[in-house]
Every structure is written in structure tokens, then in C-alpha cells.
Assembly symmetry: C2
Homo-oligomer: 227 residues x 2
DNA sequence: GAGTGGTCTAGACCACCAA
DNA sequence: TGGTGGTCTAGACCACTCC
């Protein structure tokens, strides 16, 4: 093995064997470049990667330390719902439950930084995998970002229209567990109060609020990833 | 603004304005380096970053394309429980509910790739924030990795002993929502069936199984991050 | 075969910040 | 104020893969 990956592996190995203990200072990039017989840029690439991963902590002048309490970073892939279902080999379909213009709940307006009294597009959509309920989408859209006339969300889901037509740059996402309310229970065909996995996301293009969405997943849903 | 970050910003801007549409090919690194008046390595750094983020798709010879269906990557920080609580300004404490040697459930053994009939250390711990139940930890430990005599997990939590003494390299993590079982309900002081946010994690050092743990969070827990 | 991204080099300048 | 990481350059070779 060669290249910066071999250096990353060697550094990780020295950390695991406690040759470089947690909290300890490791040699400078220059020293390591000399030891490994490579350019400093190559060492930099390896150490930068490990710092991103949370294994190392780097500061100018202070040097590079092994993280005392490593903060592992897990990465989750946020995909289009259709892809999520299709990649499991199931057929995808969706059904718009309701659609209209109304005032958003206080929480939604607050999350998007919009006045409470604004009128937003409210969409409730059921997504199905192999014809069975997969998740309920409760979405509030900022009408200011839509073209005139507004797209037909019964043909192309709002989810996909947005990724195709609004290249968003920022947002935040939250996961939680909540009991199914009456609407969710009816849509997913489960008893009210059933534990549901909830994804909530607010999306902005720059400072411009785009949409807020809440996804209520069917029971048994798992969000998985590797560390 | 200068440097590779300005190039990343410019590329992002061209994507958002549809100058470079989704699925479209963008100029080669060499061409962009010429246009921006910088070295190819600088362009490479910017494009590589965007590819990691899921905005671009890169292939040798084929060139660089704007991702047609962008797969956004959310990163979650996996911390030590004590830190999680302390960073919210609350005081941390924990209490071992039960401790012993027994045969793991089939699912735990399977996840770790261990035979079902092996004896593992089984620990149930309640973690508290400001003296109130915060989460229940249900952990199975591979005894093979423990020193003799075994550490006293009533003094230092298994969670922290592991990060301090076993530098693990791999693992997987899953999030779900489940109704509280009787033990969880009693520990967290909530009615059975309450929707709980569950984190399950399997940890390995190389191919060597270390531990499997299930964290049942108190109601209202949210896992949040920015995109 | 040829064009692209992936990586490496040797050198350089700079920003930061602990001593 | 000196040492460290952060970044950039100009050039080079290679691996991959589409044509």
C-alpha cells in the first residue's frame, strides 16, 4: 500500500496501540514527512482526513493531538424518497391526501423565520412501497418560490420537484420518536399512539426559506449507517 | 475571498443558477484552473470537497457531473453520553441497574458475529441529567476484550471506559422508534408503550467484536444536525 | 488510445497563536 | 517571535475508463 491512505493507516495504528496516547501530541507534519519519506502535503492530507473524522485535533503552533474523547462522526445519506424505496427493490407510488393554502402552525413559521400570518401551501402526501403505506409527508411550502402557475404536485411529488428545481444550500434536520396522531394513524393504518420515527427538516436557499417538512415513517423503520 | 473555498462557492453558484444544470458535465479541472487562474490542485480540492458532499459526481475520463439527484450527507456527532448532557449545561450522573454474565439474545449475537451460546457481560445503566432519567443503556460486552480483573463499571461507565481503553475503528449504528417495554418504562418513569427514540450500535476493533449497545432515550429527545 | 481525475513532489508564503 | 498547520504552485506520473 502506498500514498496518503497508508499514512492514515499507520497513524491510526499508532493511536490504537497507544504509542500515541489519547490527548498526546504527535510529531509535526514536517517530522512525519521526513520519517515516511514523502512530501509534507501527503502527510497533511492524511492528518486532515483524520481530523475531519474526529480522531485528531489540530491547531496551528499547538500541533496535532490525539483526541482525548473522540467525537465520532456518522454520515447519513439524505435521499429522495423514491430512491430510498426503489433501492430496496420495492415499487414506489404516492398519493396526495390534501392540498391547500393556509396559515402555518407557530412552530413551522418560527423554524423558517416567517411571520405567522403568512399564507403557505400545505401538502399532505402518503408515500407507498409496493402499495403499502411507507411514510406520511406533511409539508409547508413558501409560495414565493413557486412559479406561476404552481406545479401539479399530484403528478410529480413536491419532494422531487424541489430537488430538481430549487438547488438548496443549507438546512437543518432533526430525528425523533413520537406517538402517531390521528391523521398519521389513519394514513399509515396503525393504531393511534404507535411509536413512529419522525424526520423534520427545514430548508433554505441562502436566507430564503423554502420549505418545512415532517416525515412520519411506518413502524419498523430504521435509519442505518456505518461509522 | 480567495483560495479553494472561493472556487467551491463559485461552482456552487453556477449550479444553483442552472448555468451548470443537474446531470450536466462541467469543465475539466485543467480548464477551470486556467479560467480561475490557479493551479489544478486548487480546483481539485474544491471539486473533491463538493463531490464528498454529494453535489458532484466524478469519474476518471468521464469527467465531473452535477449530481442529478443530489444525495445530501448529514453528519451526526457521536459523543460520550456525559458530554452530551454536560454540553447542555446539565449535571450528569449514572446508575448501574443490573450487571451480570449471561447468554446474549440471538439478535445481539448475530449482529456481533458471535456464537449464541457464548457468555457475555450484560450491563443495564440509567443515565441521568440533573438527576432526572435521560436514557437507559442496555449493553452486551465481549468478555474477551476486558482485562483481569474486570473494570468496575459502577465507578466509570462502560461507555467511557471503552472510548478510553479500546480504540475502535469500525461499527454501525441504527436509529429507530419503538414503544417502551416494561423495563425501559420503569427506568425512565414513563408509561409502557411510550414512543422512545432508540439508538443501536455494534462496535468492532478490526474483525474483533467489542460491544453491542441499545440506548433508549427519554421522550422528547431529538437528534439534530445541519445539512 | 487518449482524456480525465487521483495523487505526489519540492518548494513557498502566510495566518495563527503558544511560549 | 518562532513553530505549526493551511494553503497554493508548477510540474509530474499514474489509474481508470470511455471511445
Amino acid at each position: 500500500m502506498q500514498g496518503w491512505e497508508s499514512i492514515r493507516a499507520e497513524v491510526l495504528s499508532r493511536i490504537q496501540t497507544r504509542l500515541w496516547p489519547p490527548g498526546g501530541l504527535i510529531p509535526s507534519e514536517e517530522a512525519l514527512a521526513l520519517e515516511f519519506g514523502c512530501a509534507r502535503a501527503t502527510v497533511n492530507r492524511a492528518l486532515r482526513e483524520l481530523a475531519l473524522q474526529g480522531v485528531l485535533e489540530r491547531k496551528r503552533k499547538a500541533g496535532t493531538r490525539v483526541a482525548a474523547l473522540p467525537i465520532r462522526k456518522a454520515t447519513l445519506d439524505i435521499t429522495v424518497i423514491r430512491h430510498d424505496i426503489a433501492s430496496r427493490g420495492q415499487s414506489y407510488s404516492f398519493h396526495v391526501l390534501s392540498q391547500g393554502l393556509s396559515h402555518p402552525p407557530l412552530m413551522v413559521a418560527a423554524r423558517l423565520g416567517l411571520p405567522e400570518r403568512i399564507l403557505m401551501i400545505h401538502l399532505q402526501t402518503l408515500h407507498l412501497a409496493d402499495g403499502k403505506p411507507y411514510l406520511v409527508e406533511d409539508r409547508w411550502l413558501n409560495p414565493a418560490i413557486l412559479p406561476d402557475p404552481s406545479p401539479d404536485f399530484t403528478r410529480q411529488s413536491a419532494n422531487e420537484w424541489l430537488v430538481a428545481n430549487v438547488a438548496y444550500t443549507t438546512g437543518d434536520i432533526a430525528f425523533s420518536a413520537e406517538p402517531a396522531n390521528l391523521a398519521e394513524a389513519a394514513a399509515l393504518n396503525v393504531p393511534p399512539g404507535t411509536a413512529l420515527f419522525i424526520t423534520e427538516r427545514a430548508t433554505f436557499a441562502g436566507d430564503h426559506p423554502i420549505t418545512w417538512v415532517r416525515l412520519s415513517h411506518r413502524p419498523g423503520y430504521r435509519l442505518q449507517t456505518v461509522l
